[in-house]
Subunit: 232 residues, 2 copies
DNA sequence: TGATGTCAAGAGCAGTGCTCTCGAATACTG
DNA sequence: CAGTATTCGAGAGCACTGCTCTTGACATCA
């Protein structure tokens, strides 16, 4: 634990950072499939084999980028939501939605890495779970706040969720304390709708059809707020 | 146009079919990224360069698989919907939803090719547009039937869509004649929710959370039917 | 100073998409 | 029917990939 050892570790950490930075730039330009260890090494003035001292395989580098991506997205969502007045529940929900969409538009390849087709043969390790939940945590807090302040009134036009999904709802309840199965079901549905919209826009399904995408997105997300029972 | 020419063209068509069949099998096992022209050629007992007589590039082979995929999915949706009683509008909608989900579960890699992250550098050619719309056509017909028979009554809990998306709605109205902007907006939202759900399930976002997926899916899709205004 | 561990470099393996050339077989035409 | 034109499979080759292994230089520590 001498100073010299720390020095070595520091240069090592610095190199790892530089590698991921370059890799992220390549990812942003060429997408995940075009990410090449050799190209990253070339840009660093290293020989390709040296990279393997820092990332044992290409998948490990991808994992690092995925974790960074989840954190970047989560941070964007947290910041957007934190800028809203606490009592403006619908505004907080809309801020979350817009933050997801805008981050996706700004970083399409990274977004695809997180929410697009899984990379074949790649299995996300445990380390990705916590960062992946940052945005959901924010969302859950909004619903929980609405419940706690007695301001969640979901319109009674949906059937009750079937008994059998109760254990699943229970697993989600940790994020939304005090929520009924119905509220939890609506929340998960709204969440999938949010990401479904962003997916459709980013992956080209709206091409030649929906052109006023920001307005359309806002309108649908506002409707979801109503379905969730958030106040107008 | 003699018989011999037809003979050559026939063997050519047969070879193309065989290549796509083998490629589809490889795709189902290894995913799009693992699809290798050389491997396909090897399995056919050909030399790799010979494949290029039939598909000028790997992307062209991928395009063929994408078109086949859209057609297979579209056919599955058409068949499922055709098996329903015409007057059972909600049943027809649910049949469409389930057909999409079940086809996706049965062909995850092909589904990912259609609705997952776009393959980098790959641009879908015109030929894919028509097959890609087969499922949407079925869906549009259900809503159009509901309107035509006066049985579409969307609950009035959503805000009106903003004026600015009217041109987009107009573009969709070809699929759902007689629909208001509000109905069209709800339809597109429901459609994205359907695919958002299937994406989340197939791409792993429900792992360790939602385990009773068929039941959850059915419940959410039933809720969407209510939002669309389909009769109970 | 000498032992230990870390590192970059280089060669090499097996695989990829793709191009080009060269004979041979097939189809069309005078 | 004979000659020409077209199509096709085979093979070599280019540039690239991820990854492994060995070698020699360097810094760290006892």
């Amino acid at each position: 634990m001498s100073a010299s050892r720390t020095a070595r570790e520091r240069v090592r950490a610095e190199l790892i950072r530089e590698i991921t930075d370059i890799a992220r730039r390549h990812l942003a330009v060429d997408g995940a499939a075009g990410l090449s260890l050799r190209a990253v090494a070339r840009e660093m003035g290293m020989v390709s084999s040296a990279i393997y001292r820092y990332f044992p395989s290409r998948d490990d580098l991808l994992t690092a980028l995925i974790i960074d991506g989840y954190n970047a997205l989560g941070e964007a969502v947290e910041n957007a939501e934190a800028a809203c007045a606490r009592e403006d529940l619908t505004g907080r929900w809309l801020a979350v939605c817009r933050a997801v969409r805008e981050w996706g538009l700004a970083h399409p390849h990274e977004y695809a890495l997180l929410y697009g087709s899984p990379v074949p043969g790649y299995r996300a390790p445990e380390d990705t779970i916590a960062p992946a939940a940052r945005d959901i945590l924010v969302f859950g807090k909004i619903i929980a706040d609405a419940i706690a302040t007695g301001r969640l009134n979901p319109p009674a036009i949906l059937p009750e969720p079937p008994e059998i999904i109760s254990p699943d709802a229970e697993a989600v309840r940790g994020l939304i304390p005090g929520a009924s199965d119905d509220v939890i079901t609506r929340s998960v549905a709204a969440w999938t709708n949010l990401y479904g919209m962003v997916n459709f826009e980013l992956f080209g399904q709206f091409n030649n059809t929906i052109e006023h995408r920001a307005e359309f997105f806002d309108h649908v997300m506002t409707g979801l707020a109503r379905m969730l029972g958030l106040p107008e």
